[in-house]
């Protein structure tokens, strides 16, 4: 047999653009040697919806509702970051009460997002009973969101200069009840995710991102913090009323005393952040209950607000710590009705490149859990084509999921 025929032992598998472990269509191309991933490459942009182009043709208040539709899970962070940027350009001061109300909504969104992610992570390794348990807990947080904002997903609570709905004294018992429920269940979830043998087997030393790589590739949010990068906009450059509240960076060493940067560490960070968010909401509700009622928005008349914004000129950036990491919006206003320029940067944008070092050296069956561990945006099922010796073999999303489930079972034997 000629030597060349035996030398090439790797082949390429594309995953995506649509895949169960990916919230937004993203395409990966893996070079694999047997079961092991040798190299990975990422291709983006399959759902670019020209949101920014559209936003440059809308007035700032209309942009809020457009920004809300960038992402169903971060439907608060995006309009709020845009509002922060515009407030800085126009010099709008937000009333104190609104600053605390903004924190409550931001943290409630974090609880919903992290518990959603935890369920997905359980599903990816084939532990579906935990998926249902986690989402049952999340349901309560969603009910509270609905109670406070009127909506479960696109909350429409943001306004430039404040928020649109207050939390009155009669709403406090419901918040306390939900927080109590979440705290009661937190211990149970923590035990399952951090002590269960199956979770440990599938997540420890899998998908490792070193601190150096996290810094070089600009990882943000829990993905960066799980690798030991202390970066959290809420603390680094506090916005809203975060400067008044008592909390600290969540890195895995808080719990285990060491940082490995693996999937397990990313689970730790997200779980502890749920606890932290519950605590922050309680701190805010305490302060809000003791505060006299007051304005929740700087300018309640929209026409007047728009008139003021029409005259605003300058550049501004709005940054927020979304559940998945830093969201940054750049806005340029030039004294016209519409923003002159608007750039949105969601955290997944920065957490895409870290996937490459995380996936190198792992097995095909680890792709779903490693890809899901950065909490990318989620999408529906599709097929994976494996090209081997010029022959194309199709793996459906279910097949790949099945591979992952089989790996868990194999490890348990």
């Amino acid at each position: 047999m000629p030597a060349e025929a035996t030398e090439k032992s790797t082949y390429k598998i594309p995953i995506g653009p649509i895949h169960p472990a990916l919230k937004e269509p993203v395409m990966f191309e893996f070079e694999v040697d047997g079961e092991r991933i040798v190299d990975a490459d990422v291709y983006l942009g399959h759902v670019h919806r020209t949101i920014e182009w559209t936003g440059m043709r809308r007035n700032p208040v209309q942009v809020l509702y457009l920004a809300e539709r960038i992402c169903g899970i971060c439907s608060y962070c995006h309009p709020m970051s845009f509002a922060l940027a515009v407030e800085r350009i126009a010099g709008i001061e937000v009333p104190e009460r609104a600053e605390y109300l903004r924190v409550v909504q931001a943290e409630l969104e974090r609880i919903c997002s992290h518990t959603l992610w935890a369920g997905v992570a359980a599903h990816e390794i084939g532990f579906d009973s935990v998926l249902f348990l986690t989402w049952q807990v999340r349901e309560k947080a969603l009910d509270l969101t609905e109670y406070l904002t009127g909506n479960r997903v696109t909350k429409a609570i943001t306004q430039i200069g404040g928020v649109r709905r207050d939390i009155t004294k009669d709403m406090v018992p419901k918040i306390e009840e939900t927080m109590g429920f979440l705290k009661d269940n937190f211990g149970k979830l923590k035990k399952i995710f951090l002590d269960d043998k199956t979770f440990k087997m599938r997540s420890q030393n899998v998908g490792v991102l070193t601190k150096e790589d996290a810094l070089k590739l600009c990882a943000v949010g829990p993905t960066g913090r799980a690798s030991g990068v202390k970066k959290d906009v809420r603390i680094d450059q506090p916005y809203f009323a975060f400067s008044e509240l008592d909390f600290d960076y969540v890195t895995p060493d808080v719990l285990t005393g060491e940082v490995n940067g693996d999937v397990y560490d990313r689970i730790i960070v997200r779980l502890l952040e749920v606890k932290q968010s519950i605590d922050l909401i309680e701190q805010c509700v305490d302060i809000l209950s003791g505060m006299p009622e007051g304005d929740i928005v700087a300018e309640p008349k929209i026409a007047k607000l728009l008139n003021q914004l029409k005259k605003a000129e300058g550049d501004g950036i709005g940054r927020m710590e979304a559940p998945r990491g830093e969201v940054i919006h750049y806005v340029k206003m030039d004294g016209h009705e519409h923003p002159y320029s608007w750039k949105v940067r969601a955290p997944t944008y920065n957490n895409i490149l870290p996937w490459i070092p995380m996936l190198k050296g792992e097995q095909i069956a680890d792709i779903p859990i490693v890809a899901a561990s950065t909490d990318p945006c989620m999408s529906c099922t599709n097929r994976v084509g494996i090209v081997q010796d010029g022959n194309r073999k199709m793996y459906s999303g279910e097949d790949l999921h099945e591979l992952s489930v089989q790996k868990t079972r194999r490890l348990m034997q």
Partner: protein, 193 residues
């Protein structure tokens, strides 16, 4: 300079203007009062000549070796394209982070700037995006291909441009769907069938 000896915003601006005399202009230190206790949030803006842009990033990395590149934004105005690259330094301690924004004007006749991917590999997607959205050229970019726009999108149209090179005619509404001319498909020759 290490993270223990942090420079004040004014010292940072000074070190840049001294290091790159005449090439750094329009420096501005914004102090936004945030939250009930009116804590200061610091944003530094400076216009950087493209000839020293990469060196400016290197200089920023000597001020803080853990410099974080957030993203680049940009727009075209009159005869130039302005790219704004947002960085943050000194994160990791409460309230100490500083946002640094470099504005890099490029003439439309020759919109070329240097890639910083060899210094900060995480800048790749942002640089690719600026190329396809604004029609600039990033020199020495490691992966010179489109990232968000599909490969069949016309080559001389840039969605964020406001001049004649914009992509407005590619915009479509569902109710106008029938009015959009069909994509050009090369005609099949009869003998190929």
């Amino acid at each position: 300079m290490s993270r223990e000896q942090k420079l004040s915003p004014e010292e940072i601006v000074d070190s840049f203007t001294k290091e790159f005399s005449g090439k750094i202009t329009d420096t501005k230190v914004e102090r936004h009062k945030i939250g009930p206790s009116k804590l200061e949030m610091i944003h530094i803006w400076m216009t950087v000549d493209r000839s020293v842009y990469k060196d400016a990033v290197k200089h920023l990395m000597t001020i803080d070796e853990e410099t974080h590149f957030a993203v680049g934004s940009g727009y075209d105005i009159e005869d130039r394209i302005e790219i704004i690259n947002h960085f943050s330094i000194y994160f990791g301690k409460k309230g100490e982070e500083i946002s640094i924004n470099f504005k890099i004007p490029l003439p439309k006749s020759d919109p070329v700037m240097d890639s910083i991917c060899d210094l900060i590999p995480g800048a790749l997607i942002s640089e690719q995006e600026k190329q396809e959205m604004l029609g600039i050229k990033v020199k020495n970019i490691p992966k010179d291909m489109r990232v968000f726009i599909s490969d069949d999108f016309p080559e001389d149209m840039y969605p964020w441009r406001k001049d004649e090179m914009n992509a407005d005619k590619m915009g479509r509404n569902l109710h106008e769907h029938d009015k959009i001319p069909a994509a050009k498909v090369p005609e099949k020759k009869e003998d190929e069938e």
